[in-house]
């Protein structure tokens, strides 16, 4: 096992996702907001799936939401994730918009106590030097 195997994965940033990760570095959660219909979208893409407009801005969101679905990871093929087991990860619906979902590790709750609809707030974890990723903390 080489040294990199015990490091967290570095996001494979794409042109359209770059601003998301840049905002995370500043501990801000930013999403694309369509300039035409005003709807948020995630994950990043060039055109609005609702109105097809390609005009958008990266906008701060509150970072509050609720749990849509979750799992408890007990086994992972990635050594770094295996070391962290058991952990809860899932998908959160943001407060600003029904149907806008962001995945992330869910913290601050025992695995057996997680329920759908629980309120969460975003927090940030520096997983590698210069890499900050969003996590969700149960409120």
């Amino acid at each position: 096992m080489n040294a990199s195997a015990s490091l967290y994965p570095v996001p494979q940033v794409t042109a359209v996702s770059k601003p998301f990760w840049a905002a995370c570095l500043q501990h801000r959660l930013q999403l694309q907001k369509c300039e035409s219909c005003g709807r948020f979208r995630f994950y990043p893409c060039e055109a609005c799936p609702d109105c097809r407009s390609t005009a958008y801005q990266w906008v701060d969101v509150s970072g509050r939401g609720k749990i849509l679905t979750w799992i408890v990871v007990h086994r992972s093929v990635d050594p770094v994730w295996q070391e962290r087991t058991p952990f809860v990860t899932g998908i959160v619906e943001i407060e600003e918009q029904k149907g806008c979902f962001i995945p992330g590790i869910i913290q601050g709750v025992a695995p057996a106590d997680v329920r759908g609809g629980m309120p969460v707030k975003v927090e940030f974890e520096e997983t590698n030097p210069g890499v900050v990723v969003p996590r969700w903390r149960v409120q």
Partner: protein, 393 residues
């Protein structure tokens, strides 16, 4: 009375399904292809079409064409795709034949899925993101959230089904136990010993709500099928099996390996949108089905798809399987070979092979009596999938 078929399956072949083949994927692919040709009684040089799919773990059609010494290919297709393409490659071959693009198309899937390239892990998802079907922005968000394995993605969907319909782990156990019981009479199956409810409950968690017995068997092996026109098939050795209808289809906004499942009710599947058209094209009703081979990368996949195809009511799966309805002699036998959970994971194409054996009446002790129509699906309770309806000659 079914509609005129698109094409026919004239030959099937497979290798042993094992945990460690000790051979190259190329050699597995060739063995399966040669078996399919021998089964049909067709000389290799007659093959003028090839189709396959892979996730960076197989040999592409040009390699197989070279090894088979084919004089030329009139049609070929290499899909960079997951198991949702397992029936899609059959559709591709059927379309090529019915459009007159090629006369004899070999379809195969070959992999060392246990001893070679395994699925999961962020190195694998990086490969997919850079080179594969999921060349997209999705993987970076899943990798960093600890979601790097198919079991985790499907467990997220299963959880929602549990919340909405009260589905339980014992329901998942009933799915797994039914397939395992069917596998007892399948010499190809890797897991033939019956599974008890206790066995299921004692198996370790992988991604709660999934235990290890909710997950299919990563497998080394290959299988192949020969597709041709119904007319040409009649001149070959075995009774043809007709391909009456098929699709390779998705729901809305079906981007990425997982994200596309969350744009409409995640407890629904591609089947909800596409089943009616499939049965209409085939010219049969759901009640005409004598069995179904439902893609079971995970136990829950069977539940979501059976509901979507309208084979059971929503939330009824546990009761269906506990009652024995999915057994060989049941109301609608499901995964007569034991499925990917018990036979093995040749990425779903092995379920098409099983359906052909059933429709030829060659399935021995696990033969469904008078099997005339079978449904085969590919895609795991997500918004992307493929399917075929096959019929006895």
């Amino acid at each position: 009375m079914a509609n005129k078929p698109l094409a026919a399956i004239a030959g099937i072949g497979w290798t042993d399904y094992t945990r460690n083949s000790g051979r190259s994927v190329e050699s597995l692919a060739l063995e399966a292809c040669h078996h399919a040709l021998a089964d049909a009684g067709l000389p290799a040089e007659k093959v003028d079409g090839l189709a396959s799919f892979n996730l960076g773990d197989s040999v592409v059609t040009s390699v197989v064409a070279t090894n088979l010494g084919l004089p030329k290919l009139n049609h070929y297709a290499d899909f960079a795709a997951g198991g949702f393409m397992a029936c899609g490659v059959m559709v591709e071959a059927a379309m090529a034949v019915s459009a007159g693009l090629a006369d004899y198309v070999l379809v195969y899937r070959a992999l060392n899925g246990a001893s070679g390239q395994r699925y999961g892990g962020f190195e694998f998802s990086r490969m997919l993101a850079e080179h594969g079907v999921h060349t997209d922005a999705e993987q970076q968000f899943l990798d960093t959230a600890g979601i790097t394995m198919p079991a985790q993605e499907f467990a997220l969907l299963c959880r929602l089904h549990m919340e909405k319909y009260g589905t339980t782990n014992d329901d998942l156990a009933a799915v797994a136990m039914s397939g395992r019981a069917n596998a007892a009479d399948n010499p190809r199956a890797q897991m033939r010993k019956p599974m008890s409810l206790e066995d299921y409950r004692n198996s370790r968690w992988v991604a709660e709500p999934f235990r290890v017995f909710d997950c299919c068997l990563q497998t080394d092996g290959a299988c192949a099928l020969l597709v041709t026109s119904p007319e040409r098939a009649r001149d070959l050795k075995k009774a043809p099996v007709n391909i009456h209808a098929g699709f390779t289809a998705t729901g809305p906004r079906n981007r990425g390996s997982m994200w596309g499942n969350f744009n409409i009710d995640p407890t629904t599947t591609y089947a909800d949108l596409h089943a009616d058209r499939l049965f209409e094209r085939a010219g049969i009703k759901r009640d005409d089905l004598d069995f179904a081979e439902i893609y079971d990368c995970f136990t829950y996949s069977i539940i979501g798809q059976m509901e979507g195809f309208g084979l059971i009511e929503r939330g009824e799966a546990g009761e269906f399987f506990r009652s024995g309805a999915g057994r060989i002699d049941g109301r609608l036998p499901i995964n007569t070979h034991g499925g990917l959970l018990s036979e093995g994971y040749i990425h779903g194409l092995n379920s098409v092979v099983e359906a052909v054996e059933q429709l030829r009446g060659e399935a021995g002790p696990r033969q469904v009596k008078d099997a005339a129509f079978g449904l085969v699906t590919a895609g795991g309770a997500t918004q992307t999938g493929s399917a075929v309806i096959l019929g006895r000659h």
